[in-house]
């Protein structure tokens, strides 16, 4: 039973990640492969604060959000000057920097050893100490994040984001401050992703840098693209599919070493097939093939 709950909790965490990335990449058209960096900032802020200062879950979350927002401003800067492929490469650079810091600043993060013994989340004196409780907590947050982003993208604000995605020059000529919107979107998207990191750290109670590598970023992007960038239900569906299907592979009876590799091959081929036959994703209006 716990195994099923575990999968549902993971789905909730990934929903937060895909929805926040969708705001940046799907709605605003800024394809970023630094999303795991925001996720990592949230997780490490949570781990370090709750171990060293015994701070509670909500405080950690706020702190992670602030940290991710600062990183968001930094990552947004190249997007003001460079576009498309070049911007993707710049975000790749930021992703590598954040990973290197987590991996090499041993005094702070214990490097590759990771941080064990993160206390479970507690909310108003109530310990979230089993799978059921954590499922409820993570569902609340994934729903809140989903509703937040939905409200935003369906508002006039979201209309400007889509205009920037489709034609920056047009948006600018209509008096929209394109640069300001890009920075805002990275702050918002990054801050939301850090919430996923916070939940993850409190949930698994042990984190190390390998959870926040470029591969994690690519997994989240795959979920967004396969589901359908620029819609909300699409990426959520992508998250469900990419969390559940590899788990299903376990039951086919393959040895775990083969199953792990098969998983990568599976993501890869799914992405290639989608790009070839359905670039807009399962549900979605925007495709990256311009």
């Amino acid at each position: 039973m716990d195994y099923l709950l575990h999968i549902l909790i993971l789905i909730n965490i990934y929903i937060i990640l895909v929805v926040s990335l969708d705001l940046i990449a799907g709605y605003t058209g800024l394809l970023s492969i630094a999303h795991a960096a925001f996720y990592g900032i949230g997780a490490y802020a949570t781990a370090l604060l709750s171990i060293h200062f015994q701070t509670n879950f909500l405080f950690n979350m706020v702190f992670g959000i602030v940290g991710a927002a600062v990183l968001g401003v930094i990552i947004a800067f190249p997007s003001l000057r460079i576009h498309d492929d070049y911007f993707v490469i710049a975000t790749f650079g930021f992703q590598m920097i954040v990973y290197s810091v987590l991996n090499n600043w041993v005094e702070l993060t214990r490097g590759p050893l990771g941080i064990p013994g993160i206390p479970v989340a507690s909310l108003f004196g109530f310990n979230i100490d089993n799978h059921w409780k954590f499922l409820i907590l993570s569902s609340i947050f994934s729903t809140l994040v989903y509703l937040f982003v939905r409200k935003l993208v369906n508002s006039p604000y979201g209309r400007v984001l889509k205009a920037i995605r489709e034609d920056e020059v047009f948006a600018e000529s209509l008096g929209k401050n394109v640069n300001s919107y890009k920075i805002q979107v990275f702050i918002i998207g990054g801050a939301l992703a850090s919430v996923a990191g916070n939940l993850y750290a409190h949930y698994v109670t042990f984190i190390d840098p390998t959870s926040f590598t470029i591969l994690e970023s690519i997994l989240v992007i795959s979920m967004v693209i396969i589901g359908g960038a620029g819609s909300l239900r699409g990426p959520v569906m992508g998250a469900v599919v990419l969390v559940v299907l590899p788990e299903a592979l376990r039951f086919v009876g393959l040895p775990s070493s083969v199953a792990a590799n098969l998983r990568q091959i599976f993501y890869g081929s799914l992405l290639v097939l989608m790009m070839l036959y359905r670039p807009q994703g399962l549900i979605g209006e925007f495709n990256f093939q311009k």
Binding site: P156, V160, D167, F170, E172, L174, G175, N177
Partner: protein, 251 residues
């Protein structure tokens, strides 16, 4: 004597050693229609880009009602009252005609993050803008296509829509880059009529055009550019009378 609303002084821009705009000065009076003519590569569109802040000039200044616009980013220029259209027709083709217009409305509180999430005024603002959008669609004659994705419109209709978007921004000065090029003559006549109406309503229009007949029909003043320089300017009658210009222009 009417008041000068927009002027440029000794504007210059060089691209990779090619002088695109060379010491161009101009003055546009309020509530007039000015045509800029000249062969391809004469620097007409570059001049628009210099005025609207999309390209910073290397030298020279642009003034809008006495205010120096140098260093002002394009979105600020648009907010200060200069709206423009583009030669290559920029519109959001996936979204509806109405949504293109709603997007074009200026200073929306719903476009501010905090208000978009929490303000109750966004709904009424959208309703007001919707009304204005419908009025503009009536004005340009696209009311029937309100809900159609902009990409489904004919080329001429898209030109009308981009004019409407330009109007929705409430600019006082409209810079129209080839507003009638490539459209059916009936549609061209319609667009030219609208331009005259807009002038009579108080707008100031500067447009780039290749069709000399269109220029004759609506322009009050004409500026002729060649090789980045202004080679003639003045009232339509004056300029068009100079045979050599017509010749330069036509060849």
């Amino acid at each position: 004597m009417a008041e000068t609303i927009l002027s440029g002084k000794q504007l210059r821009k060089v691209f990779d050693g090619v002088i695109a705009v060379d010491n161009v000065s101009f003055a546009v009076e309020e509530q007039t229609i000015t045509a800029i003519i000249g062969p391809n590569g004469a620097g007409k569109t570059t001049l628009f880009n210099l005025v609207t802040g999309f390209i910073p000039p290397e030298q020279g200044e642009v003034y809008l009602q006495g205010r120096n616009l140098n260093g002002t980013p394009p979105h600020e220029v648009a907010r200060l009252g200069i709206s423009r259209t583009f030669q290559d027709l920029r519109l959001l083709r996936q979204i509806s005609v109405r949504d293109n217009l709603l997007l074009s409305c200026p200073n929306q509180i719903g476009e501010v993050f905090w208000h978009a999430l929490f303000s109750r005024r966004v709904g009424s603002e959208e309703a007001n803008n919707h009304e204005e959008a419908l009025e503009l669609l009536d004005f340009v004659g696209l009311r029937d296509l309100t809900n159609e994705p902009a990409g489904n419109l004919s080329y001429g209709q898209q030109k009308l829509l981009s004019l409407a978007c330009c109007l929705a921004t409430k600019g006082k000065v409209l810079l129209l880059d080839e507003p009638v090029a490539g459209v059916h003559p009936d549609m061209a006549a319609r667009i030219l009529d609208l331009m005259v109406k807009l002038r009579d309503q108080g707008k100031t229009i500067v447009f780039i055009e290749h069709d000399i007949e269109a220029v004759k029909k609506v322009a009050g003043r004409v500026v002729v550019m060649d090789d980045g320089k202004v080679i003639a300017s003045g009232s339509k009658e004056e300029v068009l009378a100079k045979a050599e210009i017509i010749e330069a222009y036509l060849t």
